[in-house]
Amino acid sequence: MTTDRIAGSVLVVAGTLTGLEATTFDVAFMTDPVGPKALPFLVAVMLLVAGVRTIARPRSEVALPPRPVALRMGAAALAFLGYAAILPWIGFFLATTLVVAALAMLYRGPVGGSLAAGMALAGTLWLLFVRILALPLPVGDLWIR
């Protein structure tokens, strides 16, 4: 009940903000009779309808993950964000090794195996993408200077 009401409220807030923001999409001269506001207003209505109905008729409680699992998920999300932050700096190979190893350990892999998997994967992907497919991946500013 409560969890579903929260979801519904999020939809209502999102719909309201979408609609309010859409009122600012003013153009000096209209190139077409519809304009840039129509689609956003449609979205706002869809979200509001879905949100209000969800609040009015909520479903049974959603089982959120227990604390240790939620912590591991948070750690995984942080690892992804950390990856985005350090990738341009320390380069693809090292960053990917670290993030894969961290993720493997979150999945309860052994420490040594996780590091080995990270290194093997980062090396393989580097060879595949940079050498064979000629897709540029960051080398790392730290090593170029």
Binding site: D4, E21, D32, L39, M46, F80, L103, A104, F129
Partner: protein, 506 residues
């Protein structure tokens, strides 16, 4: 037989060594990701799209690879379904009923073989349907104006929302989210920035590859953290992967009926392999009568859904290619890939890019032949892959997702966006909001808005133009009917849904 001569020309393209290699790679990857629960064809295709763009391969070659993953996954999805009772994708959920029962009986081998054969029958027969009906539909759709296209897209949204199976209201919210994502960026008509939060990177709009990988692949990484104890699973012994002549002939009509039914259901937007396999299974159950072993390990219970879901996958290519309207999350991603390759699917595709269409159709025969090879004599190789522990598999998927997302724009900002969509996708799964309508909304949204604006500009702002032609009215009617259809379908399949284990949608 105009189609036949075109198809022969198509083989000239499909049999070029590079395209044979790509078809093989596509169906191999497809079998692999179809089999493994938690990866899925939509992730594999989204991850490979930036690679095909960057490698500069032609549109026909890229499509042969990506579509190979799509129909190949319909073969692979039955492997883990039959051996482990863990469906790879939702369209093989019913295969689990009799397939897994056969494995418990020690007849897993015949079940695997029958599933591969039925997939081949459904796959190849439906390519006939594709080459026969696509030109017809294209010839008919050539009269579509912007108002008809707008109505058609509304039909696509309502069909996907109602056939997705869950609550219509939640699908409405998901579609709204997708359309909102479509609005982000510079409005092409007035050059006004919408919902960019002052981020320059968002002026170009949301990239569907980033959104799809975030919503599907990254959210799956979070979801699977709930169950880190599971993972390495040991398949039961399954015996020789072959069927006897008697088993094969007993399934002859079953496979034919399943193929036709699956193809017809597949052409409808939104319905797809899941509904096709449910309908085919319940039809055969009725044909077999009360004395059959349906539900307790009848081999026809494997043949029926597998023929149907493969036929449906190919049938779904018709609206995608001739109308430019996808009916599922995976075909929406394929549409995004086509647009990115500079190909506009629609009624003119067959005239303007005959090599692409006929080359693709011919390559589907090549791919299905490879799939039979991969899924009969070589199925053991894939079964070994089921033993890769989860702590290796999932981080590998994550790393591939990073590379693909980074390759889109070469920017780490997209990795942040991807993570945000991953968290979003996880919460949406948790609260039972369907993910496929988000991708459909994102990919179709700009086209829908463009057609609405064009129709209104032509009519001078008169809204009646949207309901002016018989075709448009028919499409509005279909859209309304599709919202009522699930009640009927659900009545037919309720008992099945309760028996079958849950799986991700494809």
């Amino acid at each position: 037989m105009d189609s036949l001569s075109h198809l022969i020309d198509g083989f000239g393209i499909a049999l070029q060594p590079i395209n044979v290699g790509l078809a093989f790679a596509g169906v191999g990857i497809g079998t692999f990701v179809g089999m493994l629960p938690g990866i899925g064809p939509i992730n594999a295709i989204a991850i490979l799209i930036p690679v095909t763009f960057a490698s500069g391969m032609g549109a026909a070659s890229a499509l042969i690879l990506l579509v190979g993953i799509y129909y190949g996954s319909q073969y692979g999805n039955s492997i883990s379904t039959i051996l482990l009772n863990v469906p790879g994708t939702a369209s093989s959920v019913v295969t689990a009923i009799d397939g897994y029962a056969m494995t418990k009986d020690g007849r897993g081998g015949p079940a695997l073989a029958m599933s591969a054969i039925a997939s081949f029958v459904g796959g190849t027969l439906s390519i006939f349907g594709l080459v026969l009906f696509a030109p017809v539909l294209a010839g008919w759709a050539i009269r579509f104006g912007p108002a008809e296209y707008f109505a058609l897209m509304i039909f696509a949204f309502s069909a996907l929302s109602s056939f997705a199976g869950g609550s219509l209201l939640r699908a409405l919210a998901s579609t709204g989210f997708g359309l909102w994502l479509a609005a982000v960026g510079l409005d092409p008509n007035s050059a006004i920035p919408r919902y960019t939060f002052g981020q320059i990177q968002l002026l170009d709009g949301m990239d569907f590859v980033v959104v799809t990988i975030g919503l599907f692949a990254v959210s799956e990484v979070f979801q699977l953290l709930e169950d880190t104890e599971g993972g390495r699973s040991v398949a039961a012994s399954y015996g020789r992967v072959a069927v006897t002549m008697k088993e094969f002939t007993s399934c002859g009509w079953t496979m034919l009926r399943g193929s036709v039914l699956g193809f017809l259901v597949g052409v409808l937007p939104g319905a797809g392999g899941t509904i096709a396999s449910f309908l085919s299974y319940s039809t055969e159950e009725r044909f077999a009568g009360r004395t059959s072993r349906f539900g307790r390990g009848d081999i026809r219970g494997v043949a029926a859904p597998e023929a149907a879901n493969n036929a449906a996958a190919n049938g779904a290519m018709i609206p995608l290619l001739t109308l430019g309207v996808p009916g599922s999350g995976t075909t929406a991603v394929l549409l995004g890939a086509l647009l990115g390759l500079g190909v506009t699917p629609g009624p003119l595709l067959l005239q303007e890019e005959p090599d692409l269409f006929w080359g693709l159709a011919a390559s589907m025969y090549v791919g299905n032949a490879f799939l039979l090879l991969l899924n009969l004599p070589l199925v053991g190789v894939f079964i070994k892959a089921l033993r890769v522990p989860r702590w290796v598999l999932i981080p590998s998927v994550a790393a591939l997702a990073f590379v693909a997302v980074y390759a889109v724009n070469g920017s780490a900002f997209d990795l942040v966006l991807m993570t945000m969509f991953g968290v979003f996708g996880y919460l949406m799964r948790k609260f039972d909001f369907p993910l496929a309508p988000v991708v459909l909304g994102l990919v179709l949204g700009p086209l829908m808005e463009k057609n609405l604006r064009r129709a209104m500009a032509l009519s001078g702002g008169e809204i009646g133009v949207l309901f002016d032609s018989p075709i448009a009215l028919t499409l509005w009617g279909l859209a309304a009917a599709s919202l009522l259809a699930p009640t009927l379908v659900r009545r037919l399949t309720t008992d099945l849904v309760e028996e079958a284990p849950a799986a991700e949608e494809d």
